[in-house]
């Protein structure tokens, strides 16, 4: 740690920090466009010019004669940074005036408006008027940049963050700067669009509205969006994300910086893979075989008219019936009762279901359901021939294991029955009489093997979000919630336990899994992930870090994994 003075505020900074990071520690913002923590330094935008000096051994301060870029200037003991002098302020105003020379005044139709650094910095550091009397240069929009990306060429400030991203992080080098001087433009080679699996990140990286996501284009103004801190469930990397929603509809996912999980970025598979949560084929309400109007298990409402079902909540009756049937089955043959846990469950949900069933009888069998694995881990940056980087040189990895919480669910299962058995091992000689299946997979997961092995059991309960061959013939179907609709904890491949928060409410007659299981288990109180984490942390030694309750924004690493270095920390 070295002592640095920023505008007379003394702070301890890391000697590896540049002036921008040191100033940030002092609570001083140095505006910047081209510099990004995980990309190389080019110092080309000139927005971060500051006055830098050093403290001489006799205590006098010698300021440098000219302004230097804060992003490129290292710090040392006694470095003095000034961002509030007239010299710096004039320079910031001039830089912004130049950047805005040909920038169109189309904030009204620009998707970035509201989260635009050009807007923000102009407001904070710029001046309100342009002295340009000539017409602005107008350039053609480029919709061919990528399948998911559109380039509004005249909004670009040539920070080249996107170009450096494709060179340094994805390694695919699709984006280039073409021409020179005031003719500079971002472009791709003919018929070589930027369609790599990390391409969506250039939209986040773009500090202005030049690169826009075609998927989100003109869908919603950003100031209407509310953000929830969540975790991507696309693969076992478990990228920290923001879920942006408005009026109970998710519009986009954005990566949330987390050096422990994935760094600054996320892959397109995860970014655009959330659409299934608004799929109209989703299970919309609970269903159970006894539910025939007028007979046993019928809905009833306060007025007692069986034909008027509009106000009846089907859940209490469905759960009551299910609870009774589960108890009966376990009483007659506990070993024949199998509960299949999905790796899409949160730790809390796995704990609730496991403790409920094991509380009825220790002999109930708990197994881990199918763990989807597609291909091999996809590691970045790619080499010039598309080959993956050498081990240890990864900057981003898309995991082959396409589920968020195998590690967490396994930890729960291990603590309840000592070992984790897989559903696959059970399918060879199916001897179960009653099944409790938990789904939650974004795609169909019920293979023919599973469907035929289940056969015609005496009790079949399916808790899922999409209809499947199993839900079609289940005795009980519990319509549950997607990842954006529930609170909980996911443990990623490296044992990082991260809290996820519900962004939207589940559809009308479905229930978030946690609440559903609380009610099924007849636990008192409402589902509260934080309280449950404390309980789990105390009950399961392997998950003892959860006892803190609050896992913070970055998550906490499980004790067994604590020694491993953070992967993909860029």
């Amino acid at each position: 740690m070295v002592k640095v003075k920023v505008n007379d505020i003394e702070v301890d900074a890391d000697p590896k920090d540049n002036c921008i990071l040191a100033a940030r520690k002092a609570g001083v913002e140095i505006p910047h466009y081209c510099w990004h923590e995980s990309l190389s330094v080019v110092a080309s935008c000139r927005m971060c010019l500051v006055e830098v000096g050093e403290t001489k051994p006799d205590g006098t301060v010698a300021m440098g004669p000219k302004l230097v870029p804060g992003c490129q200037t290292p710090i040392k003991e006694g470095t003095v940074i000034r961002t509030d002098s007239a010299k710096v302020k004039t320079s910031q105003q001039m830089t912004l005036e130049l950047l805005l020379l040909n920038h169109p005044l189309d904030c009204s139709i620009c998707d970035q408006a509201g989260e635009c650094y050009l807007q923000d910095y102009t407001y904070k550091f710029g001046k309100a008027q342009s002295r340009l009397d000539e017409p602005k240069i107008q350039r053609m929009d480029k919709y061919h940049i990528g399948e998911q990306i559109a380039l509004f060429t005249d909004r670009c400030v040539m920070c080249t963050r996107c170009v450096r991203f494709t060179r340094e992080i994805s390694g695919t080098s699709e984006l280039q700067v073409v021409a020179r001087g005031s003719h500079e433009e971002i472009d791709v080679f003919p018929d070589e669009p930027c369609n790599n699996k990390l391409a969506g990140n250039v939209v986040d990286l773009c500090p202005v509205g030049a690169l826009c996501s075609k998927d989100f284009l003109y869908k919603k103004r950003v100031w209407w969006l509310k953000h929830a801190e969540s975790v991507c469930t696309g693969c076992s990397t478990g990228c920290s994300i923001h879920v942006d929603q408005a009026e109970n509809k998710v519009y986009r996912l954005r990566p949330r910086e987390n050096a422990q999980a994935q760094g600054h970025f996320m892959c397109d598979e995860g970014r655009f893979g959330f659409k299934y949560i608004h799929d109209e084929r989703r299970l919309s309400s609970p269903r159970y075989s006894g539910a025939v109007t007028g007979s046993k298990g019928s809905y009833s409402n306060a007025r007692g008219k069986p034909e008027d079902l509009s106000f009846a909540d089907p859940w209490p009756e469905a759960l009551k019936q299910a609870r009774k049937r589960i108890a009966d089955e376990i009483k007659s043959d506990a070993n024949g009762f199998v509960a299949v846990f999905s790796p899409f469950m949160t730790v809390e949900e796995a704990y609730l279901l496991a403790s409920f069933l094991k509380g009825l009888d220790r002999r109930v069998r708990l197994v881990l359901g199918p763990v989807p694995v597609v291909g091999n881990d996809d590691r970045y940056p790619k080499g010039s021939k598309g080959e993956p980087p050498a081990a240890g040189k990864e900057k981003f990895t898309i995991r082959a294991e396409k589920c968020p919480n195998r590690v967490g669910v396994e930890a729960v299962l291990r603590s309840f029955q000592g070992e984790v058995s897989r559903l696959e091992s059970l399918l060879r000689q199916p001897d179960a009489r009653a099944w409790y299946f938990v789904g939650g997979y974004p795609q169909g997961w019920v293979t023919d093997a599973i469907a035929s092995a289940v056969g015609k059991p005496s009790l079949l309960i399916v808790q899922d979000i999409f209809p499947s061959p199993l839900s079609d013939r289940a005795d009980f179907v519990f319509a549950s919630a997607s990842f954006a609709e529930r609170d909980g904890t996911y443990v990623n491949h490296a044992g990082l336990a991260q809290a996820t928060h519900a962004a939207i409410r589940p559809p009308a007659e479905t229930r978030a899994d946690g609440r559903l299981l609380m009610e099924l288990a007849e636990r008192t109180g409402l589902f509260n992930a934080m309280a449950l984490r404390k309980e789990i942390g105390n009950a399961i030694p392997e998950l003892s870090v959860l006892a803190a309750g609050d896992l913070g924004e970055q998550g906490v690493r499980l004790a067994r994994y604590a020694q491993q270095p953070a992967t993909a920390a860029t």
């Binding site: 009204s108 008027q129 284009l217 003109y218 103004r221």
Partner: protein, 206 residues
Amino acid sequence: MSNVKKEKTVKWGEEPKLSILDALYLPAIASGVATAIRHAVSGKATTRQYPEVEPEIPPNYRGVHRLNRDEEGRVKCVACYMCQTACPANCIEIIAAPAPKDDPHWKDRDKYPATFTIDELRCIYCGMCEEACPVDAIELTSIYDLTGLSRQEMIFDREKLLSVFDETVKSGKDPVRTHRGVLGPASETAATAKQAPPPPGRGRRG
């Protein structure tokens, strides 16, 4: 210090003291009756014969909205949602869409309102929408006698709002605000942008 300053700006009013005569209210009643009789016998009727005789509405009146058209007859609105954001009554609802790029008519436009609805019943006619509009596309006209037979009828869609524009332009009842001078640079079309810049000191310039 600041407290003292504040107190100086506050003017305290005293309740007027009523004499016994005032407290009886009889003089006030008598003067009121006298006014009524004076009006009755003077012969100068002040009743407005509405709807046979329509009143003169000042041109800065804030009545029914209209959506303006640009020089080519397209809806001028660029779907920036500023009016919807500014609206204190939440009566504006816009759904934006990319302008049809294949249509040569729309070539110079990026974004346009696919739908634009105003609930005229919920609106409080405050004029914040036209103040917020960066391209002067939405305006309040001096049409004051808006009626309808159902709530649905009072929810104006884009075409209806454009027809209000056509109607008011034809009848020459443009709101005065339309002619307030040079528009902001955001409302320039490609054609007008090439013209000479407005003389300094007039209008907003970015």
